[in-house]
Amino acid sequence: MPLFGPLSFSFAPQVLASKTLSRWVKPFAAWYAEQSGYRKYGLKYDDLLMEERDDVQRALGRLTSAEGYDRAFRLKRASQASILHAPLPKEQWTKFSEDGRYLTSHIREVEKEDNERAMWDTVSVKRK
C-alpha cells in the first residue's frame, strides 16, 4: 500500500491475519479509538479521511444519497459542537457498532481504477 495514497499506511491487514496478534492488539485499538474523541462528536472514522483529493471526491460521489446526507449531517453537527467547545450529549455519541467504514471500500475501488488506468497508459505491448 502506498504511503501517500488516499488511505494512509496501515498494518491492519497483517495484524488481522495473525490470530494471536489481533487478540492482543484489538482491545488496545478499541481503547485508542474511543480515546481519540471523534465519537464524542458523533463522527465516524471515515468522516475523518482526507477528502481534498480527486480520488476521494470521486469515491464520495459514489455514496448513496442517504449515506451522503448522513455524512453531511454528522459533519455539520460536529462543527456546531466544536464551536460550542463541548462534546455532544452522550446519547448522540457514535456507538462502537455504528462506526463502520462506509467510504473506504469506495476509495479502494477508485484507487484500483486509477492504478489500472496508469497501467494501460504505460503498458508495453508485445505482439506474438
Binding site: G61, R62, T64, H106, E109, E113, E116, R117, W120, V123, V125
Partner: protein, 423 residues
C-alpha cells in the same frame, strides 16, 4: 444461348443459402464467409424495448454494454480492443439488442470473449450507471426529441401498438431507473433461448466452437414475456421547435408482415434509382418543391407498421404534400400491370441488397435465426414472387380501411389534421 446461360447462373446465385443455422446447446449460431478481410460477430438478444418490464430498462441495458464484467473493467475493454484494432457497438431495436464486434480475421477469440463476458458476467455497478450510462442515455433522449422524424415515429409506435411494441426505444428524461432494474432485466434476458450469434467473414465451425466455450455457463430459463401485438391507431399533435415541419401518416397491421406491404412500400417510395432524378414514384411528381415524402416500412415478428413521413419547411407545403401522398396511397389499391412488376422488382432488390451489408444482414436474418428457421434470402424473394394484383389490392384496402396513426410534430397551428388530408 449466352442469355440462357447467364440466367441459369443467376438462379444458382439466388439459390445459394446465406447462412446455415446450427443449434449450439440452445444458442443459435449462423455464419457466412465471403472471404472479406474483416470479421464481424453479432450477439443478437431478444431484449428489445417490447420486452422491458419498466420503461427505459432496455435503453439502459444497451448503454451498459461493454462496461465492467468479472473478466475486465470498462477501461480494460476499451484499451484492449484498441490494441487489437476492433470496433464494438450496441444497437437497440424494438425487439432485439444487437451487440456487435468488428475486427480483423484471427482476433475472434478475444472479441467473442468480450461479447460473451458481458452476457455471462456483467457487473451492472451503480457507480458506472451514474457516471457513464446515465449521461449517454440523457444525450440520446435529447437527440431523439430534437429530430422530428425520429420523434414522430416513436410517437407513432406508442399510438399504434400501445403496449409491447409501443414502448419507446428511449427512456423518459426523468425516469427512476436503477442499476438493479437493469441487472434484473439482463438476468431474465440473457438466457440460451434468447440469444442468436451471427457471424460474417468467419466459418461456421470455429464460431460455433467459440460460442460453445464462452456461453457454457449461461442460464437456460427465460422469464421474458411480451403481449402479442394488436393495432390501435390514433392521432396526436406535438409542438416542436427544431427541424422541419413533420407529419407521419401510419397504418399498422397485426400478424406476420406480408410481402404485399413491402411491394406497396416499394411502389410509393420516392427514393429514385438514380441520384438527383425524380423517378417514377406516383408521389415524387405530385409534391411541391422543398418537401419530402419518405415511406417507412417497419416489419416486426407479429405486426408491421407502414407509413409515409411528410416533411417540409411550412405547414401549408406539408398539407399539400400530405394530400398527394394520401391520394397515391389510396390509388395503390388498384396497383397492376407494369407498375406492380416494377414495385416487386424494387422490393426484391431492396431486401436482397440489404443482406449484403452487415447491419442489413442482422436486421433481416437475425430474427429468423432466433426463431430457428432457415435464414435464406430465397424465402423472402419467392414470397415476393407470389404477390399478385388481387393480393395487393386486398392488402392495400385493408391498410387504408383501418384507423390511421396520424402524428404531427412542429408548428401545430398550421400543420394539417388527419381528416383534412382525406384520411
Amino acid at each position: 444461348m449466352l442469355a440462357a446461360r447467364a440466367s441459369s447462373r443467376n438462379v444458382q446465385c439466388i439459390a445459394r443459402s446465406f447462412a446455415t443455422v446450427v443449434d449450439n446447446a440452445g444458442v443459435k449460431v449462423a455464419a457466412i464467409d465471403s472471404n472479406q478481410p474483416t470479421t464481424s460477430v453479432t450477439f443478437l438478444v431478444k431484449a428489445g424495448s417490447r420486452y422491458e418490464p419498466k420503461a427505459g430498462v432496455a435503453h439502459g441495458l444497451k448503454n451498459f454494454a461493454f462496461k465492467s464484467t468479472a473478466k475486465r473493467s470498462a477501461l480494460g475493454t476499451v484499451r484492449e480492443s484498441e490494441l487489437y484494432g476492433g470496433l464494438l457497438s450496441a444497437n437497440l431495436s424494438r425487439e432485439h439488442l444487437a451487440l456487435t464486434a468488428e475486427f480483423l480475421r484471427g482476433d475472434e477469440h478475444y472479441f467473442v470473449d468480450v461479447l460473451s463476458s458481458f452476457l455471462t458476467s456483467g457487473k451492472f455497478t451503480r457507480h458506472e450507471f451514474e457516471e457513464y450510462v446515465t449521461p449517454v442515455m440523457q444525450s440520446e433522449i435529447e437527440l431523439s426529441n430534437a429530430d422530428p422524424a425520429l420523434h414522430a415515429i416513436e410517437l407513432a409506435h406508442a399510438l399504434a401498438f400501445r403496449n409491447g411494441l409501443g414502448s419507446s426505444l428511449y427512456a423518459t428524461p426523468h425516469s427512476h431507473l436503477t442499476a438493479e432494474d437493469i441487472k434484473a432485466f439482463a438476468k431474465s434476458a440473457f438466457t440460451t433461448g434468447n440469444i442468436a450469434v451471427l457471424g460474417t467473414g468467419i466459418d461456421q465451425d470455429s464460431l460455433s466452437k467459440l460460442v460453445e466455450q464462452s456461453l457454457s455457463k449461461i442460464s437456460t430459463s427465460s422469464a421474458l414475456t411480451s403481449t402479442p401485438s394488436s393495432y390501435f391507431g390514433g392521432e396526436t399533435r406535438i409542438q416542436g421547435h427544431s427541424g422541419p415541419q413533420t407529419v407521419f401518416i401510419g397504418f399498422g397491421s397485426a400478424g406476420a408482415p406480408t410481402p404485399e406491404l413491402a411491394a406497396i412500400s416499394a411502389h410509393l417510395s420516392t427514393t429514385p434509382s438514380v441520384k438527383w432524378s425524380k423517378g417514377l414514384s406516383p408521389i415524387a411528381t405530385a409534391i411541391p418543391e422543398g418537401t419530402s415524402v419518405q415511406t417507412v416500412y417497419l416489419p416486426y415478428s407479429d405486426a408491421s407498421l407502414f407509413g409515409l413521413l411528410v416533411q417540409g419547411p411550412t405547414g401549408a407545403s406539408v398539407r399539400e404534400a400530405g394530400k398527394a401522398a394520401v391520394t397515391a396511397l389510396k390509388s395503390a389499391t388498384s396497383l397492376k400491370g407494369d407498375d406492380l412488376k416494377k414495385a416487386i422488382a424494387k422490393a426484391k432488390f431492396a431486401s436482397a441488397s440489404a443482406t449484403e451489408s452487415r447491419d442489413g444482414f442482422v436486421a433481416l436474418l437475425g430474427s429468423k435465426v432466433l426463431a430457428g428457421s432457415a435464414s435464406t434470402l430465397d424465402a423472402t424473394l419467392s414470397s415476393l414472387d407470389k404477390v399478385s394484383e388481387s393480393t395487393v389490392s386486398k392488402a392495400a384496402s385493408a391498410l387504408v380501411g383501418a384507423k390511421p396513426t396520424f402524428i404531427a410534430v412542429g408548428d401545430v397551428s398550421s400543420l394539417p389534421y388527419a381528416d383534412e388530408l382525406g384520411l
